[in-house]
Subunit: 327 residues, 2 copies
């Protein structure tokens, strides 16, 4: 299939074409990368935008159950929903090809849903680029909501937040001293904290936990991109499908306000620039490791380790010898 045909079929919401295109952007082969770039460029003009929702939560908080319940809630309202995952740890386990679909059995059979397992990648930089490109493909294929899930390992939350319009933090009911699990930096990224498992024996604990997080959110500095009362914390039960209507209403209220106040477009613009600069930075550092500076760097690193030269003097030698210019 050539790129023009792939483009047309994606625009016609052909799921197999979408899956094929995502495989293309996930490939590390140079010819595939070139084709992927052509495809993305061909689709850029389509002008379709989905609501990109980032979702973070450590294992055990019921993330899969939440995505399944929330996804089915959305498709029941006539929305088309795509689910992508950012899991840098999957490089070790060889990807969660089977995992993602079996753990969301109902949603994976829903014809208005599209679930894409996380690719097995070795570094977060590559995962970030490929996920952003997969998001763009899902938008072109006419999905209304793209859920981007992260397991919350290392910097993956930052990566997901930097490609999302909304960032949800899913938490489990917990006793006081378990609040430590949530890093302050993650709290500051959240637009909505959802305390899951507000059902059965855990219901009252979930409500207390929610109140605790609400208190913690009040202590954070107000962000310009938030209307009064946001970020919020609320309880949900993914298992009993409770609280989803309210959670969705909050997401809509927040995004409507942001659209009306210029924050939606502003955020997309600054995110696009962030990724541009990030890719330039990574690319330059990669060129440094393959270019003719490589041998000099390795030699100086050995001298630094042997204390024959200070780190700063060695770095100055490399930098003074470097010549960075445009061809």
């Amino acid at each position: 299939m050539d790129i023009a045909e792939l483009r047309d079929r994606i625009l016609k919401q052909d799921r197999r074409a979408l899956a094929r295109a995502i495989t293309l952007v996930e490939s590390g082969r140079a010819d595939h990368r070139a084709q992927a770039a052509d495809l993305l460029e061909a689709l850029r003009g389509a002008g379709r935008q989905a609501l990109r929702i980032g979702l973070s939560g450590t294992p055990g908080v019921g993330k899969s159950t939440f995505i399944e319940s929330f996804g089915i809630f959305l498709t029941a309202q006539g929305k088309r929903v795509a689910v992508l995952a950012v899991d840098p740890s999957s490089a070790r386990s060889g990807g969660s090809i089977l995992g993602d679909k079996t753990r969301m059995e109902r949603l994976s059979r829903d014809k208005n849903a599209f679930i894409r397992p996380s690719p097995s990648q070795t570094h977060l930089g590559g995962v970030a680029r490929r996920t952003r490109e997969a998001v763009a493909l899902c938008e072109a294929a006419g999905f209304d909501v793209v859920l981007i899930e992260t397991v919350g390992v290392g910097q993956s939350e930052t990566v997901v937040a930097e490609m999302s319009d909304l960032f949800l933090l899913l938490l489990a009911p917990a006793g006081g001293d378990e609040l430590q699990g949530v890093k302050r930096g993650i709290m500051e990224m959240a637009d909505l904290i959802l305390v899951n498992k507000a059902d059965g024996d855990l219901k009252s604990t979930a409500m207390r936990t929610c109140a605790d997080y609400l208190g913690a959110l009040r202590l954070l500095r107000k962000r310009p991109q938030d209307p009064e009362g946001f970020p919020k914390a609320m309880t949900v039960s993914a298992l009993e499908e409770q609280g989803l209507t309210d959670a969705w209403a909050q997401m809509c209220e927040l995004t409507d306000w942001r659209r009306a106040n210029g924050h939606w477009e502003g955020r997309r613009e600054s995110q696009a620039q962030f990724w541009f600069h990030e890719e330039v930075k990574q690319g330059v550092l990669a060129q440094l490791q393959t270019g003719d500076a490589k041998a000099q760097i390795a030699e100086l690193a050995a001298q630094v380790a042997a204390q024959e030269i200070t780190p700063s003097a060695a770095a100055d030698k490399v930098l003074n010898a470097l010549d960075i210019r445009t061809k």
Copy 2:
């Protein structure tokens, strides 16, 4: 004073010469940087090594009181002690020039102690380089112990840990849910956790807090650079000067073991290489912002924001046009 004279006087433990040399390494002027590099190179061969102790703790844990008590404890044992500070936030407040000395009044009058206030710097990269150079100067000036203090803002703990032989985490007694204040990453860096204020009404709380952290430390993976039983948590009272003998004994036990098992030298080597690569990286990115790629990058960033090109395609344009070579 020329560099050769400054070198000789530093080797003779002249404090005024040391202070002057630190001012030189803190300067941003190109001619000062060149002189600083010459001085450091001239001193490199002196072969003097201090025990570099990194110390982190949020405001309010009694860090100044601890440094004063611990410093006096060490000088009473005939050790010469230098205190440096890494405080990226001091850029805002204009440095803690008065602060550092007044809050350690007794230690600052001790002739075997040298206290250097944190420079006011705008970015952590510069602070890191200057602090490492100040540490090297203190070592050349024959100090036995160099204490490097950080306020624990942002990445400053990582910076300090990467230039220390030992990393101490000073904490205050706290109730269960206040344990959240300590990020897991910081815990993993600590060689010794000291719960301060184990005196008066807080003594029993301090002991409970210590037990909690000891429990938390047990859950971390054992590190190759630790003998059995490390990292440890213990209580101290900086105010009543209690527990310092034991804390110092633990530090000596740990460093003796590391020296005997090759971890001391190994760590210094890998730290030197870390800083070398870090400075090359920062320098290359800085050259990118000043070189002739700058205009192209700015133009493409504007196109990215206007959605006229994808971030990846724009980055590829920059990278394909770049030519990085050694002169």
